[in-house]
């Protein structure tokens, strides 16, 4: 089997943990098919990203450093990855199923006329054929798909593969001579969601707010609860659409997929689309005044009641418990 390439995600040189989950999927694939795992970093001044990746058990890291990659753009990334894949003959390419991977990987699929399975949660081999499992219909079915042809492309659902551990060694970082023409596409600006809390997809605890919180002015209560648990904040689409929280807090089929140790849904009804993004959480708590709310069907602990009373009470209890421990 030919070798496997992981395309690294970073933001202007800042390493993203999504890469570690993608590496685990790549290692799984290597174990099934043989071949070595390399990583590719495209950027400008992104050597630190390459150095970090080199510590996680890859054979080598390819570093394509060029002003064309100073800002991520699908048009340049897909073209450059296609070039590297063709030149070096990689048999598989993986990237995280984040908005990064979901943007350029299908474009790569089009450029290479190569099959892509998106958002995969499992990899299997049957004879010589490579198969992947991926949730469809908002997670209400798991499809087993076969990819025909080479190379095969995957975007990896982060919650389904553990983060790779440091190997204790540094793999070599090799420069590759690659560039790409943005052909008129320009990066204009970014409006970043700033938060001191843990990253939503990496947090051990996620507290999510829904339409039930009634307004932005009540977000403080949710923040206090998240802080008492050192958690991240998520939201339903309703809360995002209302403009109470930033778009990238949306959890669900079409938002972020999370699987924390503890997920607390506050004032969220539990629509199919929301549950698609959180039902693999280890423990689910729901606080909702409607005892018929579908969220209770997946909740390990359901509290039927007014969130405006329950949440402050919960914050108090947790603070008390924390102060006893401290």
């Amino acid at each position: 089997m030919a070798d496997i390439l992981v395309v690294a995600e970073h933001q202007e040189g800042v390493f993203r943990k999504t890469n570690l989950h993608t590496l685990t999927a790549a290692n799984t694939l290597a174990a099934l098919l043989g071949g070595e795992v390399d990583a590719l970093v495209l950027g400008h001044g992104a050597a630190p990203v390459a150095d970090t990746l080199a510590g996680y058990g890859v054979r080598k890291v390819l570093l394509g450093d060029d002003p064309a990659f100073a800002r991520y753009l699908a048009v340049t990334y897909a073209a450059a990855v296609a070039q590297v894949v063709k030149e070096k003959g990689y048999g598989a390419v993986l990237a995280p199923a984040s908005t990064f991977g979901k943007d350029f990987m299908p474009r790569l699929s089009g450029l290479l006329d190569a099959p892509l399975a998106g958002d995969i949660v499992e990899l299997e081999k049957e004879g010589e054929a490579i198969r992947a499992k991926r949730p469809i219909y908002a997670g209400n079915a798991i499809a087993t798909v076969e990819l025909i042809g080479t190379p095969v492309l995957f975007t990896v659902r982060q919650t389904a593969f553990d983060a790779a551990a440091p190997s204790g060694a540094q793999a070599p970082v090799e420069s590759v001579n690659v560039t790409a023409d943005p052909r008129g596409t320009v990066f204009v600006s970014r409006q970043e969601t700033k938060s001191a809390r843990p990253e939503l997809t990496e947090a051990r605890v996620v507290v999510s707010a829904g339409r039930g919180i009634k307004g932005r002015e009540n977000l403080g209560m949710i923040e206090e609860l998240a802080d008492a648990l050192k958690g991240a904040i998520g939201a339903s689409r309703a809360a995002v659409d209302a403009g109470w929280v930033p778009n990238d807090w949306q959890v669900g089929q079409t938002g972020k997929i999370v699987a924390p140790e503890l997920y607390i849904a506050v004032g969220i009804s539990g629509a199919i689309q929301h549950m698609a993004g959180m039902k693999d959480s280890k423990v689910i708590v729901a606080i909702n005044k409607d005892e018929e709310a579908p969220i209770f069907q997946v909740a390990d602990y359901g509290l039927v009641g007014d969130l405006f009373k329950a949440v402050p009470e919960l914050v108090e209890e947790l603070k008390r418990a924390n102060s006893i421990q401290a």
Binding site: P106, R107, K282, V298, A299
Partner: protein, 250 residues
Amino acid sequence: MKILVTLKPVPNPDEKVKVREDGKGIVRENIKTVVNPFCEIAVEEGLRIREAHGGEVVVLTVGPRESDQQLRTALAMGADRGILVEAAGDLDSLAVAKVIAKVAAEEKPDLVLNGKQAVDDDNNQVGQILAALLSWPQATFVSKLEPDMGCRKAKATREVDGGLETIEVPLPAVITADLRLNEPRYASLPGIMKAKKKEVKLVPVASLGVDTKPKVRVLSLTPPRQRSGGRKVADVAELVSLLSNEAKIL
């Protein structure tokens, strides 16, 4: 401005689907087929651009003959005409994108609007593949779109993991619509009446000379792991006690 909007019929996303006993698909009885919600948003955006800049909105579906109904829904919203590329069976994303690319090469739109994802297969691929096949720029997951016909470019704000990102793409381009791009209108009664008279061109897929051999084949479906939820707690004190002592999470 000529806008091509691609739309996919999907089972009503508000119904919880079940996997068939034989694993060959989902149970389709009693589940209505509707326009993929992201495609409705794409249609709405096309209509708004036409209303502001003039032009034509053409809607395109690759699917079985019955998909005509979902095209009519878009025509009732206000789209000008429809194209149904008749294809039996499930084509994979590459095949669908190749078919759309072929139609786009004939229609020569200034803009192709796609949904960001079809909520049945949850692929999130066709628009990006299409952009590659056409060698056009792409802007995915778009929540704000500002076309500038004079300069033949469009500014697009994209919903990305870290927040919002704005890029500018020259036209023609492929745009994929995210949830917050707009609020789609309902088809009005006169709209529905008018739609009946609008043209839907039927094109047999074989006549396009596109290679639709699958590269991604769905072998089987299985139900997801079921959670055993449903337990209620009496109050906050019990919740905290269970979280510490039973779930051992605090």
